[in-house]
Symmetry: C2
Subunit: 349 residues, 2 copies
């Protein structure tokens, strides 16, 4: 049986998250398995529904591995979606072409009666089966990342009924009835711990918590609905799975990123593209390994503009523990050869 130290030694991603300063940082990209890849589109066109892709282990394994084969990233990230957790809780979730996710919204405490965290592991079993297949297939130096949405971000979709522009419904509930809203957050903490724990049991070596909409909240609400639930998830996972690194990605946290980094207990912090590199280096990287933060639109533009910003990020952050990534997910119109160029810059300068 391999010792954890051996796995860390041969996986650059695990070394960086353990605090090692690398000559060349590891690289992976959020949404690296996705529509910008022709081989992904070829798989996707044969399934009717996006969730069907997440719940078909053979297909999820295939699309997870595609970018590893093409680019040799230092980490694979399970192909899945943050909305499998509401699905696992019993909420109706659909993905409509060109429209994004549509959920039958929950908007008050009474609505929560329809949600049950008990069957989450069972309902999401195909996801963990995919994890086992990916773990078995990955090259030895490549780490496997599992993930979930953070309770606040998942709750925005559950309450708004999909993507929102202004998040008014959820804020009115959270501000006007914080005790009732906290019951939804509590349900999500429970379900998220189960979902991530099951992924780890099946073979993921790192988990990332995506908090895409962390940045819309004032400080008091950020502390209550972003930091505190994240802290509880990190504490529960650390007890059950000591040593498994947890990356928190509080997109748009701005001046509250420092509080998030220290108070949640996450191993490392993901930075969105608006985080100034000076702040990232001087305030955040002192506290934790950092990950980020090229604007995905610069990856679409490519050329000198992309290269200059990628080099600026490397110059600022390579002096401490660091994982190169984007500041948000790859967008579908990204030319695949721009991704190769970025990998070359990070690997070879």
């Amino acid at each position: 049986v391999e010792q954890p130290e051996q796995a860390i030694a041969r996986k650059p991603m695990l070394r960086a998250l353990a605090g090692e300063v690398m000559t060349r940082p590891p690289i992976w990209l959020m949404r690296q398995a996705g529509r910008y890849l022709p081989e992904y589109r070829a798989v996707r066109k044969n399934v009717a529904d996006f969730l069907e892709l997440c719940f078909s282990p053979e297909l999820a394994i295939e699309v997870t591995l595609q970018p590893i084969r093409r680019y040799g990233f230092d980490a694979a990230i399970l192909f899945c979606d943050i909305l499998v957790v509401p699905y696992g809780l019993g909420q109706k979730v659909a993905f409509r072409e060109g429209e994004g996710p549509v959920l039958e919204p929950v908007r008050n405490v009474a609505d929560l009666a329809s949600l049950d965290p008990a069957p989450v592991r069972e309902r999401l079993a195909p996801v963990y089966q995919a994890v086992r297949g990916i773990a078995a297939a990955l090259p030895l130096a490549v780490a496997l990342i599992g993930f979930a949405g953070s309770p606040w971000t998942v709750a925005t979709y559950m309450v708004e009924g999909g993507t929102s522009r202004d998040f008014q419904t959820i804020r009115l509930w959270a501000y006007g009835d914080p005790e009732g809203f906290s019951r939804l957050i509590d349900l999500l903490v429970t379900a998220t711990v189960e979902h991530l724990s099951a992924q780890i049991d099946a073979g993921v070596e790192i988990v990332q918590l995506f908090d895409t909409w962390a940045g819309i909240l004032p400080e008091a609400a950020f502390r209550r609905f972003v930091i505190e639930p994240t802290r509880r998830i990190v504490a529960a996972l650390s007890l059950r799975h000591p040593g498994v690194p947890i990356i928190g990605f509080p997109r748009g946290a701005g001046c509250l990123a420092e509080a998030y980094a220290t108070e949640t207990g996450v191993t490392a912090i993901g930075l969105d593209a608006t985080m100034p590199l000076g702040v990232a280096r001087d305030r955040l990287q002192r506290l934790r390994p950092v990950q980020g933060n090229l604007d995905p639109l610069l990856l679409v533009v490519g050329g000198a503009a992309m290269a200059a910003q990628a080099r600026a990020i490397l110059a600022a952050l390579s002096g401490g523990p660091f994982v190169f990534n984007l500041g948000h997910g790859i967008v579908p119109q990204t030319p695949p050869d721009h991704v190769q160029r970025l990998v070359d810059i990070v690997r070879h300068g």
Copy 2:
């Protein structure tokens, strides 16, 4: 003829912007003239188009004065819209009910040929006529604020063709062809200086630059497309109209708010609701008077939650130069009596 010192002495808003620490800070609210007021809706229902309301001086005067009559705010803000500048430049702008603004987009340098800043003052003459009427009608202690959108934010609407969720089109242009995109920014700097200068000539005593979408940019682009054009507008206005305070509102600027406050030369900085009060007090209020930052959704919720946050803001920021405001505009579903309650808290504790 009244001396400027006399005007400042009797207007709390001007005193706070001059750096005075007030026992009770002045208060006004972004979008205080608007759909949450029944008297506004009564005027609005008689005009076909939103722009018609902006360009009918009698009506613009009336709706500007409505919240002053009802609440006795310390400042009136001209009723207008940031998209009158693209209209003045010759772009087609329409407001469709329930859909927001729709513009015929400009997306490259060739498209800019259709835009001309020369006739801005003439095309927007009815706006300045409204300013004269408001200035003549305001109570002596109430200051009159004029405004414009900042070039970056106005450009988002001009390039995306309306409100956007992801701002991909404008970012691709700005990152991929920064020289060409800068020509649009330059046009907007020129037109914005003219538009604000004309408002000041007609009687506004303060101007605010709304940069609603400042928060989506990485640092390098923020410096080039937010800070630098704002600095040029501030410099030009300060030459033509020395002593007229300029409030900058870079919504979502996060960790870059300090750079914005010092490098643009604005008199005061507006804070959105996500700005932590500790940062506002310790880092920003040391540099400039600050304005903000109650979440508008807390004004909808009202009651103890609103009162607690309003008092937290007052406790944090009343020790320095400060103007009480929201962190963004009032939303239409706000109960008017919640606004009265907020004014009472700020005025009487």
